[in-house]
Every structure is written in structure tokens, then in C-alpha cells.
Amino acid sequence: MATVEFNGKSFEVDEDGFLLSFDGWNPEWVEFVKEQEGIAEITDDHQKVIEFLQDYYKKNGIAPMVRILSKVTGFKLKQIYELFPSGPGKGACKMAGLPKPTGCV
């Protein structure tokens, strides 16, 4: 496990660059992660996905299924990949500060 520093903030992360704790998230995190996730600039659309993931996680304690993410945000999977090149799991969930996806991936 490692600690990364960015703009005066520090974050505890694992090898895959996921936050160890959701509570450690703050808006600086998104700025820090965007480059490694292939994102030049955070748009309102990015923000919408991130905010929905966080709301869903706070309410349900898990990340939403892909089709729920699509349905609620109105973004088709193709658009989600345009926003987050490494996909909703590695890209969007990481930026939103959610725990690392698990299972047979």
C-alpha cells in the first residue's frame, strides 16, 4: 500500500491506484487520477457519472450494475467508454473513490 501526494492532499491507495477508503475521497482525487485513466478534462458528463456512483454507493453499499448506471445517467455503454476509456469499473469507480471491483474479472 502506498500514499500519494497531490496538491497538498494525500491519499492512501492500493497497487491498482484505488483509494483504500471511500472517506478519503475529495475533488482533488479526480484531478489526480484523470491522467492515468486517459482523461484530459473533467466535463459535466464525467461529473454526472461520478456523482451518481457515489450516491448509489452511499445508499446501497455497492457499486451499481452497468445497466443501472446507463439507465440512470442516460449514457449508453459506448458513451461511458468515451468518457472513461478504461470503463465504468477501472475508470469511473476508481475516480469516484469506490472500492476496487472484485470477483472473476
Partner: protein, 439 residues
């Protein structure tokens, strides 16, 4: 000189079977010598550290890989299985040890040129260790670091014209038996169908959009050489619906002993002279064969196409000419609610390359429509089937109800009816009932 002592693993170098330990040691030596002067992009002693961590696991009886791992390439949601050692200081060569799934050609036919190119790439950017192949079919590159993933992907796609395989909650890499390429039992071109559907559903393969994983497998006949009925959610198994073709002269050849039964598969032991009555007629599961006056006959309308007689006398008996396939759905391993094999959904469908296999694609997409909408998180199709009922799958696949979809009718009387199928529907007034029946 080996980097780690491996007394337990060394024992696995004895015995007649090809030793994975000897092979890995050989690759350790190759990398240590580096006669080609390769600029290794991950530690040259990666395979040595792999042996080291494996030896430690042999001693402890425990795995030394950390939980999970999420890595990949831009654009895709799967294809790479991230992995990190839980003793990175002791074994720095395998601190990162990610696995890359590479889509294999249908039937796994290769040229040495292609394999050489793959090996050159993997020697340069990976551990030099592989799995040929993963159980789902992929070529598996075992062990590299995160920074190499995009590099490998670039070279695979740009220089080798080859893509990654699938992982995650998506369509996994389809696989097939070798079909018509070298088997006279093949009822359709399994490789062509596998290749076509793999290409058709690239998006579904690379970008997880499903409730859980989903696998296709294609068997050319009921022998099941790729085990589709046990190892795929959607299993296509070749069959025919006309007559088995009988060559009576060749039958006489088997009876006379000139031709070996089962193409000599049991030649390692003396089973006595071939007895067609005992080994074929009496073993036919539907008892639809007879052998009288030197003539073999088959009551084809009672034949279940189990392949036994054809397997036993391949020179004398051939599959019919009106060929197609059956479709089975729902096979899965035990987790969560018990193991399942495929259940027959479509008894016979033509496998028609002429219309780009549209009939089969319609069935696939019908099933996906239902499962993607109704499937719960991490629920395999087989489990959705159990939860919602086989009727729902039949409806969503858009195929007719058929008596062959059951092994036996239900024994319990908990039968649901649709309101429109019941005269008067479900809206009833208790007051009306009370006019005829006092309380």
C-alpha cells in the same frame, strides 16, 4: 545457479510426464544467458521468482497472491487479470504478475511464424511463461507488469493483427472443437460459426455489459469435444435429422475383422473378436438397430443420435445429410446455486453461413435481451432460468415450445396460467360467488 532453493519443486522433475518445473527452469536459464541480447522489459529473473514463490506456497500450503487486481488497456473493460505477490520484497520479479488473455484462432491451428512472433513479443515484454491454452480457449500470457500492458496490446494489434480475449461480466472468448477441419462427424462448420460470432459480438466481449459472464461454445456433434454442454451458457451442438448413412460392405468389414472397432481406440487390450450384436446393437440406447442376415438396419425415427454406433464403426456409418445443430442453454459451475449442464432450448436449427447465421444470432440476442434486463447482479443465465422459469427463456428466445425441451413433465401441480388463457380472467366478485354459496 538458481536464485531460490526449491527442494519440493525439484521432486516434480522426476517421472515420465513433461515437468512444468523443468520447463520453467529452462526458461530461467534462457533469460539468464540471454543469447539473443533481448532488452527484457520486466525483471529477467521473473520466472526464478515465480519458482521461489511457488516453493514457498508448497511449504506453507497457502497461496501467496494478493486478492484481486484491476488493470487493463484503454477502451476495454477486460482481457487482463491483474495479480500481485503478497511477498514483493522476497520475490520482486513477481511483484506484478498480470495475466493477459489473447484471443486464439478457432480450433487452435497455428503456423510457427505466428507463434514465433507471439513468443518474441512475450519474451521481450513478459515473463516468457504461458498457458496454451486457458480452459475457455484463450492463449494465456502469464506474468507481466502494468506499464507493459498497453505496449503489448499495441504490438498485438498493430503487428500481429491479434486481439485480447474476454474477462469480467461479459461475453468470454468463444471456443470450438476442430470441426470440419479434420473430423468426419462434424455436422456444421464449427470454426466458421465460432469466428463469425466472435467478430459479431466484439463489443459484448470487450466491454462488460452483462449481469455476469456468458460463454459460447461450439461442438460439431454430440461427442462434445469442446464440452460445450458443460462449459458454456450457450452451447451449439451439431446434429442431423435424416438417416444415418450405412455402408453395408464396410459393416461386413467390421464383422469380418478387417476394420478395427472404434478406429482401434481399444487396441491396447484384448477385448476379443468384434461382436456387432453385443457392442453396437445391444448398446443402442433407443434399441432401434438390428443386424440380421448380414445386414445392419436402423429405425432412424427412433434414433436419438447419441453417436455410439457411428463412433464404433466410423467407416461404415456416417452422419445424415440434412444437418444443423441443437442449442442448449444455462450450463455453469456450482457457484451459487449448484452446477448445471445445458438444457435443450432448440432441438434443430440450420447453421446457415449464407444468411450470416441470422437465425442463431436472433436466438442469442433474444436471450440477452431478457437476461440483461432481468438478470440479477452476478447471476448466470442458468440461474435466471431457474428463478424465472424455462418458459421465460423460450419466450425471449422466440422459439417454439417443444416436448423435447423436457426430459419428463413436471410431477407437481403448481401450474401457472396466464390470465388471458383462462375464461373470465382473474377479476372475480366474491358477492357473485356468495349468491350461489352461503358462508
Amino acid at each position: 545457479m538458481a536464485k531460490h532453493k526449491t527442494p519440493l519443486l525439484d521432486q516434480l522433475e522426476s517421472g515420465p510426464w513433461p515437468s512444468f518445473v523443468s520447463d520453467i527452469k529452462q526458461e530461467c536459464e534462457n533469460r539468464a544467458k540471454n543469447e539473443k541480447g533481448v532488452e527484457f522489459q520486466i525483471p529477467a529473473d521473473c520466472p526464478e521468482d515465480l519458482l521461489g514463490v511457488l516453493e514457498l506456497s508448497y511449504v506453507d500450503g497457502e497461496t501467496h497472491w494478493k486478492h484481486g487486481g484491476i488493470v487493463g488497456v484503454f477502451g476495454y473493460g477486460g482481457g487482463v487479470i491483474g495479480r500481485y505477490c503478497d511477498q514483493p520484497e522476497m520475490f520482486p520479479g513477481v511483484a506484478h504478475f498480470h495475466t493477459i488473455r489473447v484471443n486464439q484462432p478457432s480450433g487452435k491451428y497455428y503456423t510457427t511464424e505466428f507463434l514465433r512472433q507471439l513468443c518474441d513479443l512475450w519474451e521481450f515484454r513478459g515473463s516468457g511463461l504461458t498457458n496454451m491454452h486457458g480452459a475457455t480457449g484463450d492463449i494465456v500470457f502469464i506474468g507481466t507488469t502494468t506499464p507493459q500492458l498497453e505496449e503489448i496490446f499495441y504490438e498485438l494489434t498493430h503487428n500481429l493483427n491479434t486481439d485480447l480475449g474476454g474477462s469480467g461480466s461479459n461475453l468470454r472468448t468463444p471456443a470450438t472443437c476442430l470441426g470440419m477441419s479434420r473430423c468426419e462427424y462434424a455436422c456444421y462448420d464449427t470454426q466458421a460459426l465460432c469466428f463469425n460470432l466472435t467478430n459479431e459480438y466484439q463489443d459484448e466481449l470487450h466491454r462488460p455489459a452483462f449481469p455476469y459472464k456468458f460463454k459460447f461454445k461450439f461442438d460439431g456433434c454430440p461427442n462434445g469435444c469442446v464440452a460445450s454442454i458443460a462449459r458454456s451458457d450457450f452451447s451449439v451442438i451439431g446434429t442431423w435429422r435424416d438417416e444415418i448413412r450405412i455402408d453395408q460392405e464396410a459393416v461386413a468389414g467390421y464383422v469380418g475383422g478387417e476394420l478395427a472397432p472404434n478406429a482401434g481406440a481399444h487396441a491396447g487390450r484384448d477385448w476379443g473378436k468384434f461382436d456387432i450384436q453385443k457392442e453396437v446393437i445391444d448398446l443402442c440406447p433407443s434399441e432401434c438397430m438390428s443386424y440380421e442376415d448380414g445386414k445392419l438396419s436402423i429405425d432412424n425415427k427412433e434414433c436419438v443420435r447419441c453417436m455410439h454406433c457411428i463412433n464404433t464403426m466410423p467407416r461404415a456409418l456416417r452422419i445424415g445429410n440434412d444437418r444443423g445443430a441443437s442449442i442448449f442453454v444455462g450450463a455453469k459451475a456450482p457457484i451459487l446455486d449448484g452446477a448445471q449442464m445445458g438444457s435443450l432450448l432448440v432441438p434443430f436449427v440450420k447453421v446457415d453461413a449464407g444468411n450470416d447465421y441470422q437465425e442463431i444470432k436472433d436466438i442469442v440476442e433474444g436471450i440477452w435481451d431478457l437476461w440483461m434486463e432481468e438478470g440479477k447482479n452476478r447471476e448466470r443465465l442458468g440461474e435466471t432460468m431457474k428463478r424465472m422459469g424455462f418458459q421465460k427463456i423460450i419466450e425471449s428466445a422466440g422459439v417454439p415450445v417443444d416436448v423435447r425441451q423436457v426430459q419428463e413433465p413436471r410431477t407437481n401441480p403448481y401450474i401457472f396460467w396466464k390470465a388471458e388463457d383462462v375464461e373470465g380472467g382473474w377479476d372475480r366478485d366474491i358477492a357473485e360467488y356468495r349468491k350461489r354459496h352461503q358462508q
